[in-house]
Symmetry: C2
Subunit: 449 residues, 2 copies
């Protein structure tokens, strides 16, 4: 019998397993997929590492920066020098520097609303947003309704929507103001989520962010069982029996390091409390498709263009230069997010890629429309996540059932980026949650010893 | 090999099975629970039938009225003669007849908003709400936001919220205006859902509505396998293999007659399309608890009081006389709904029943606070529904993924009250959906023969 079974070999699970092994516990990691990494995934494109999932780290994501240092993983700044672009209302706006090419009214309105948002977000207790003053009212208000009260110009609203789609994979109508405020605060503030310089998109890894999980897994050699989806978890007075497609495993404790939206698929004995089951059924995964257009050369750079663009028109809402660190494999990464991502799989593959090429051609000139290759990853097609980047509770959920996010269920503890209080939804949050769950279980193992 | 496997022995499944058997098909019904009936359930209380689930039928629910006639199930009118009551803002309002004791401003505002709602609902094509003009905008707007634009007095808003909670088991913030409009229209209009006279609460069955499923099941003797939760469904070119806790079953076609929120628990091979999987993950079940307070006598009737009451204060939002047809077992049925139902299971049983008794005492005088028995049914504790009365799509879902509600998946067809176009969410809708799914499958069986 193991001390601990860790379910899920994403960054949360691998972090938890490493900490527990380091503390002397016997640990087995059970992973449903044939690979580690969860919502990070590395693909080799002609020798260049492509991140099909999470790819950036920001300066205040201290755990990820420390991990990069520890593994000797070199980072480099996300390229966005030169002219930036915005496709709004069928017209292109261009600018350089930090201040977008918008009317003074639009700019003032956006600035004021960001201040207001950040002031409100500052009040969110990240450990327990449901205890905040007005938590109930803010959780009964959709983010769309909050937006409409703050922003009155069409452009400002559209830009806000694009940022919500891109950061959370949802439409503002799908989430509550409370969840959004918590999410912003769990990073730092609104700009920390949306900016490249100083924000969560600041840096990339030369080897790809997918290498984090691979390095962690190397240190856990022999502890990880792949292709072992967990079907049932039964608890007794002495321990836990976890049934997988690769047999039964026993342990004293379990760390469940998977997205909450997948937990209804596991048969628990005893059954979860009604409120906990409801939480799991009310946190659908966001919708994100990454389409990478690969070019012979980074032609935009040669023209003094950043390769960064936001669009109010689908399918692509956000484009960013995603070339390899040395620029040898030149690419523009296109984000199809929110409702555009949800119709993506309903459009035939050739047609949807044509749509992206047409957008790139319109936005970056003829060469933009002729990538030499396109790589698409629709996370909704991966049944072991069902989307990306994060599970978002539907309105009214965080205030009522939120306290079950991290509350252990007997011998079962919970991790995963959704349970984080720092950078929830990011790799940083996954690692933080894995550390916390490991510490919870270690304390119980020590108390027992 | 069967012609058809029906999954779920609620009213949808039993109706489908009966129609298919009548058409000469070989049919087996697989039911997860040890009983038939789904969201209807009969309990014997000292010889009186108690409906723990659905209990009323309305005059335009033609299928249910026909079924009652066919089975010789006598009906009787819901008792609500005499003084009606409203507990709002900590005060009691009393009135007789149809017009509530509200200020002229509040009454006019409510009447206008109901007209407006019904005019809008009239435009919803119940077969495909997602094709409606403004479908996208209406689905991106929460019902709470729609309410705030229509209703400006506190009382009118509170009364609207109570009706939404009671009819759908949700808070207005949880659903979109589009879903609510569809739901209203699938009945007839707003009042058809909320009224006793002429509405969906008009009549009860002497033997209890739970008897419908029992009678249908009697006619399917030998066809029903209980305690057989379906774990996996695999499709081949020739047919379908359904794996249950009571063995494998094979058939040409499957009718899946269970709530959409439970479908993620089934392992499908091939996997559902991403959009379909997303639909299933975005329709959480509403929250409804029924608490029946049983008294020695219907003391309220003796005082000329209807026993009907709405309250803006939880846990109980709605009370209605639910005595047996002969009045011998006198009871007041208390609905704990929406967010009050979601915190119900987090409150210790003794405490929550005390809360209900305190409300009943405050509202109906000392005898109200002293029921001789209380029967509670929290549908969230039943893992084979997870709530009641209906799965409600979260905002933005109906417009994007709605078309997958009834769309067959290879050899698998879908029924259940959520897939109905008439009285979705009610017994009537369940039966309509069962008839439709049976007709779809019959057509394929005939084409094959």
């Amino acid at each position: 019998m193991n001390d601990v079974l860790v379910v899920g070999a994403g960054l949360a699970g691998l972090t938890a397993a490493e900490a527990l092994v380091a503390a002397g516990a016997t640990v087995t990691v059970l992973e449903a997929r044939p690979r580690v990494g969860g919502r990070t995934e590395l693909m080799d494109f002609e020798g260049a590492p492509f991140d099909l999932g999470a790819q950036w780290i920001g300066p205040t994501q201290h755990r990820m920066n420390a991990l990069a240092k520890r593994f000797g993983m070199a980072s480099f700044k996300t390229f966005h020098e030169g002219e930036r672009r915005m496709w709004m209302g069928g017209k292109m706006r261009r600018w350089k520097g930090r201040i977008p090419n918008l009317s003074p009214v639009e700019l003032v309105e956006m600035q004021l609303s960001v201040w207001k948002l950040d002031r409100l977000a500052d009040k969110v207790p990240v450990e327990a947003p449901w205890t905040m003053d007005d938590a109930l009212a803010l959780d009964h208000r959709s983010l769309a309704s909050w937006r409409d009260a703050q922003l009155h110009t069409r452009r400002a609203r559209d830009l806000f929507d694009i940022s919500v789609r891109t950061v959370l994979g949802v439409e503002p109508a799908e989430v509550s103001a409370l969840w959004f405020l918590f999410y912003m605060r769990s990073g730092e503030n609104y700009l920390s989520h949306t900016e490249i310089d100083g924000g969560s998109q600041e840096s990339r890894l030369v080897d790809g962010a997918g290498a984090f999980a691979q390095r962690l897994a190397q240190g856990l050699d022999g502890h990880i069982v792949l292709d072992a989806p967990v079907r049932a978890i039964a608890q007794t007075d002495d321990g836990v029996v976890v049934s997988t497609d690769r047999g039964e495993h026993r342990a004293r404790y379990v760390a469940l390091c998977v997205p909450p939206s997948l937990l209804p698929l596991v048969r628990f004995d005893p059954a979860p409390e009604p409120a906990r089951a409801r939480l799991w059924g009310r946190m659908p995964m966001g919708a994100t498709v990454k389409v990478t257009a690969v070019y012979e050369r980074a032609f935009w750079r040669e023209q003094g263009v950043a390769g960064e663009l936001v669009s109010d028109e689908g399918p692509v809402s956000y484009v960013v230069d995603s070339s390899s660190h040395d620029g040898k494999v030149a690419s523009l990464l296109c984000f199809v997010v929110g409702r555009h991502a949800r119709t993506w799989s309903m459009t035939p593959k050739a047609e949807r890629l044509d749509q992206v090429r047409a957008q790139l051609g319109k936005w970056f000139g003829a060469p933009g429309g002729k990538p030499r290759a396109m790589v698409e990853k629709d996370w909704a097609e991966d049944p072991w996540t069902g989307g990306c980047p994060v599970c978002n509770p539907v309105p009214t959920t965080l205030s009522v059932e939120g306290s079950f996010l991290r509350k252990p269920m007997g011998r079962v503890h919970f991790a995963g980026t959704e349970t984080a209080t720092a950078w929830a939804g990011y790799m940083e949050g996954a690692v933080q949650s894995g550390e916390r769950a490991a510490a919870e279980i270690q304390a119980r193992l020590r108390a027992r010893a």
